[in-house]
Symmetry: C2
Subunit: 512 residues, 2 copies
Amino acid sequence: MIILVGFLLFSFFSEFECSRPNILIMLMDDMGWGDLGVFGHPSKETPRLDQMASEGMLFPDFYTANPLCSPSRAALLTGRLPLRNGFYTTNAHARNGYTPQEIVGGISDRELLLSELLALAGYRNKIVGKWHLGHQAQYLPLKHGFHEWFGSSNCHFGPYNDKSTPNIPVFRNDEMIGRYYEDFQINRTTGESNLTILFTEEATSFIKKQAQAQQPFFLYWAPDATHAPVYASRSFLDKSERGLYGDAVRELDFSVGIILDTLWTTGVANNTLVFFTSDNGAALVSKIMGGSNGPFLCGKETTFEGGMREPAIAWWPGTIKPGQVSHQLGTVMDLFSTALDLAGVEPPSDRVIDGISLKSTFIDGKMTDRPVFYYRGNELMAVRLGFYKAHFWCWSNSWEELKQGIDFCPGEKVEGITSHQQMNYTTQPKIFHLGRDPGEKYTLNPKSKEYQKAKSAILEIVKEHKNNLTPGKPQLNWCDKAVMHWSPPGCKKLKRCLTPPSPKPYLCSWPH
Amino acid sequence: MIILVGFLLFSFFSEFECSRPNILIMLMDDMGWGDLGVFGHPSKETPRLDQMASEGMLFPDFYTANPLCSPSRAALLTGRLPLRNGFYTTNAHARNGYTPQEIVGGISDRELLLSELLALAGYRNKIVGKWHLGHQAQYLPLKHGFHEWFGSSNCHFGPYNDKSTPNIPVFRNDEMIGRYYEDFQINRTTGESNLTILFTEEATSFIKKQAQAQQPFFLYWAPDATHAPVYASRSFLDKSERGLYGDAVRELDFSVGIILDTLWTTGVANNTLVFFTSDNGAALVSKIMGGSNGPFLCGKETTFEGGMREPAIAWWPGTIKPGQVSHQLGTVMDLFSTALDLAGVEPPSDRVIDGISLKSTFIDGKMTDRPVFYYRGNELMAVRLGFYKAHFWCWSNSWEELKQGIDFCPGEKVEGITSHQQMNYTTQPKIFHLGRDPGEKYTLNPKSKEYQKAKSAILEIVKEHKNNLTPGKPQLNWCDKAVMHWSPPGCKKLKRCLTPPSPKPYLCSWPH
Ligand SMILES: [Ca+2]
Ligand SMILES: [Ca+2]
């Protein structure tokens, strides 16, 4: 009798669970396409990620929606391009904006986040790590469908003096529990910090809890050890061939292993889709302290391949067959559509969704023809269709910045492409074949038939795209020192509130 | 009784074979480090090589001895740097020379080749493909220890008119059997040629014959499909994501599979060391028709990592454990020392050998501290020791060549490093840490302790190296149109001899 009940329960949950798998998105910060062994990094220091790839499906043609943290993350969670969801600026042409602590804006209530839709469908949602969709109270994760949070709303920049600038708070759910450099240490000399350990423990304890509760979960694991200032815990310092950045990668690789192991030991591995990727290309501006974009051109902040092509692995034992490589063009926005599809939730029909579901790509290797749009701020800089990528605008960063040593394409120089002024090629786009020329070095001859054919196909796509494009209200235009983290939710309980200055909004300056 | 005899025979041969494994060196031509899926090429089009790597040991830190065909191949077969074995020129400073059909020189009789030493030890030796150690009769493979040959002494350049320039002959053993573009077609428009099929059949039939004869063999498989003009057979044309170059890579990958399968079906896989590598970095000068050097700087002809770091896989089922990565610094000259070690042959003691045996690296993962020397012609351009690489001379190619569109570092520009004039840094070398900075972009600060320590360790090595250095007689100084392939051995039998002009030796011109 007991056996029978056990069997019935098992059948019930097994059916239930199969129709509603857990979703685990592992989003790295500024990790480059070329940082993983399986993507060719010469140091070959990511054994767990390489194993994960061999057990699942590798996506060498996977993209972010913007070469910077906040818009990329907003796109992932809304399934929509930053220009639609408001994560852009009109303060200047083609400038990447994000959410520093001076930002006034954040994720609009009118956006429907993956977390909100999955919560409605009965999922328990947790975000671990960096949020970056706005830090004023109304923008925080628990206001947007997440049930739990451990992490921060911003980058771990600092330390600040808490006088002219407050230190960035760390949150537990909807209240701050301390601040970086005060309660959560990052040693700016040695690079030591135990944050990745904390983020990993938060992930595994959540998985264990949900496995026990037999409730489907959405875990958005967003550690930021590979974002400057790069950090690693003591036992990983000086362990890699690659210096501190490599130490951070090794620790994240190790942590991925711990999390996957936890899925196995809690018995939910076969019912969990894990997707590993990064929010933008490696920050080449950080030089040896940044990651690698492999053979691709330039890095973070740019719309060249190095800025927007991301490492990507889908893992789902028993459902995704091991050892596969898919050249499907994918984007972070597809994670929104895919997760909804897997959860059996209809995507919102009142708005344009830019993501597509990759479910049948995972299961049957299906290929869907679709374009990739490369935005920088409010400008469509480039479009990829098949192997062809047309650049309508080319820009690395300004001469003024370059003179200060800021370079998004160090050691690289492709005439007219990695330009230091904004080059307008809208009438005759620069077109590359990314199969023969993944490094974007050799433009097609505009007189060739190949060019003409690629150009007209892409222009068709652009026309359609622009016809269906209603920009959201730009969230990244206004800044104000008064909105900084002086008095985050929960500061009173801790007696850690600081006094904000009087409001004095100004247009944020986005130099690149 | 029959069973007993069978058993004894088996024991005998098994012991015999184990002490003298077959040696199979697969040497690609101008294939780059980044061309294999396992080394991160985004097209991921080398399934058999990736599988070979997963079944064996991958060497991400493996080097050639010179960034050009002939000296690299001479170094592999002699175990000695080109400056010792004569494969260099003194016509100008730091210029790469090779063996075009005007070359007068070739491999000296005073050199002891791997083929000669293995022949003495009872091995049957075959070279399939490109020889490139000189084409006058005394320099050909059968004069230097090989028992069989199918291939050519030179690159497959052409077609020529057989008047001002003869077409390059193809040899069977010690006689020509035809010429490229006459009897062995390479379609310069479509890129079609069945040569890789022929080279593969030559390899498999030799393996079958030797397996049957139960005689150990040394097979030097040197197909040249990835050297300009790149070619592939009809069924591979237009099959890759990467154009004709990718088609050539796919066919070679497929052929590697056929050869490994043949080792299995003939029962000798467990007794054969297979080593896959390339003779120099990808020829970036060929632009989209060339290969990829992954994240490394520049390409063929240069002493930057892109010119000299090679894809490398060791495969030996049952002896080399699967799934290993070794960061041992290796060179093509180690193949000489390793093969002798495996065959139980003492290396010649009357001369300096630059190779080291990798046997215990293969078997036990042993790491040996040793330097890598980067030569360009007669000049020691750079030295790697551990992670540190010191450049004493930096040069890409001349301004004159650049103006003609010849560029060994297209799209790359590292100030003072990828220079268009020869930069002399012998008093204060430019030092890079190849772990943190595999792309050679960020020089160490000469005032730092790290720089000072690396510099003195490397200068010590250089001093020792130069003290033990007796340059061989330079073989690449003299050219003469009279020595071209007018009347190669065997031409009479075919009635295909052409009339040479009168001898008129001149100093070869080596522009880079
Ligand atoms: Ca980021
Ligand atoms: Ca070559």
